[in-house]
């Protein structure tokens, strides 16, 4: 009875938070002044611009809801097996998913505020862009580090290790993606002057390398590695019915991790400008946000099924 009450408590609390964030986001879209550059570029009135911004934000709102329910369900499952050997690892996975879920609304809402202020105070634009870039790094960095610890613990508990061929393929994928990322990012810089901030990131190259590029490469490597470790665990764990449920959760986690990496990649390779631009980048961002939402739906369904095994 107590467990059931706690379960509905968590979901209720999480949905409350989602409603507050979604309402705040919608209010900000309609209350903050519209960006004049974007309105001129797309020949829109302020109201049209705001309605367009809201329409583009709808898939994100749905992805946030899926994310919040997904992490709540994962916490519920982790709590139901808290006293078992795999309990702490699932609790860490739930914590990592919580950070990933919060990484969706917080940077977007804060960026809306910063950009709106920068619209009226152009000298604030660099601060807005820099802060948005760091916020978009901070949440996934924390999330994937925690998920990395969890996936390591799960594979260690099942005494699994991955083959040299698999390790090589992960490193190869990472090196290719990392080199392409560095190539595209460095193209935006004046490489003759390491201290110049005359670039879309408003940061000198050396600071960009130390505080953005290296942490991102670390995050992506940890993300790819944990996605692989979690998949390895689900493939090797015993129990036909347990594996079926776990596989849903694992596919969800992999979709969330991969789409998170893809979103970070897109946002750094093609830097933010601080207002709405209707281009292929926006389309890709929307696609990966929808993938994130679908990933969290799978996490919720998988966690529900696993929890049911612990209840019947």
């Amino acid at each position: 009875m107590t467990v059931k009450k706690n379960t509905s408590d968590i979901t209720g609390r999480v949905i409350q938070r989602y409603v507050i964030l979604a309402a705040l986001y919608t209010l900000l879209i309609f209350l903050l002044p519209a960006n004049t550059t974007a309105m001129r570029e797309h020949m829109l009135t302020p109201l049209q611009y705001k309605v367009l911004l809201f329409a583009i934000g709808l898939p994100s709102l749905m992805a946030w809801l899926a994310a919040f329910i997904g992490y709540a369900r994962l916490h519920q499952y982790a709590d139901s097996i808290a006293d078992t050997s795999e309990g702490p690892s699932f609790k860490q996975l739930a914590k990592g998913s919580t950070w990933l879920a919060w990484s969706l609304p917080i940077p977007i809402i804060l960026s809306l505020l910063f950009n709106a202020y920068a619209n009226g105070h152009s000298d604030f634009r660099p601060t807005a862009i820099i802060t948005s870039n760091y916020l978009n790094l901070l949440f996934p960095l924390t999330a994937l580090t925690i998920i990395g610890f969890a996936s390591r613990a799960l594979t260690a508990s099942a005494q699994l290790s991955f083959s040299v061929a698999r390790a090589r393929s992960i490193i190869a994928a990472f090196v290719v993606a990392g080199l392409a990322y560095c190539y595209f990012t460095f193209q935006r810089f004046d490489l003759s002057s390491f201290g110049s901030t005359d670039n879309p990131y408003y940061l000198p190259l050396w600071l960009m390398v130390i505080t953005v590029i290296i942490p991102y490469l670390y995050v992506w490597f940890i993300g790819l590695l944990s996605a692989y470790e979690i998949a390895l665990f689900s493939k090797n764990v015993k129990g036909v019915l347990y594996r079926q449920a776990l596989r849903l959760l694992v596919f969800g986690l992999i979709a969330v991790v991969v789409s998170s990496i893809a979103l970070q990649y897109i946002n750094t390779v093609s830097p933010r400008v601080g207002y709405l631009v209707l281009d292929y980048k926006l389309l890709l961002i929307l696609l990966f946000r929808i993938l994130t939402g679908l990933g969290f739906v799978l996490i919720a369904v998988g966690a529900n099924r696993l929890k049911k095994i612990e209840e019947v």
Binding site: I81, T84, K238, G239, V240, L241, R305, L306, I309, V312
Partner: protein, 97 residues
């Protein structure tokens, strides 16, 4: 002796369940025995097994729509309910080096 046999039976039931429920097997069986047979899991005897199998079938049917898995699982458990034949003295002697 009976206590040891019961513990062995419990271990065998968990081992069969492990094929279907993996790491959740031990917890699942303990819960079924405690909730439906109202006794500690290690006190489960062969007499309890048939009624336990019925409860397990109901519980597993809630987890999957695949009736083949449910039947296969029940069949494996039924094999544990079959009384084991005592080895004849002659056979036992023949096996001795």
């Amino acid at each position: 002796m009976t206590g040891a046999n019961n513990t062995l039976l419990y271990t065998q039931v968990v081992r069969v369940t492990h094929v279907y429920l993996g790491p959740a097997a031990d917890r699942f069986i303990a819960r079924q025995v405690e909730n439906h047979l109202q006794k500690p899991p290690e006190d489960m005897s062969k007499k309890d097994l048939l009624s336990l199998i019925d409860w397990i079938k109901v519980a597993v049917s809630l987890l999957t729509d695949d009736s083949e898995i449910v039947e296969e699982y029940a069949l494996q458990l039924h094999k544990l309910a079959v009384p084991t034949k005592p080895k004849s003295k002659a056979k036992a002697k023949a096996k001795q080096p």
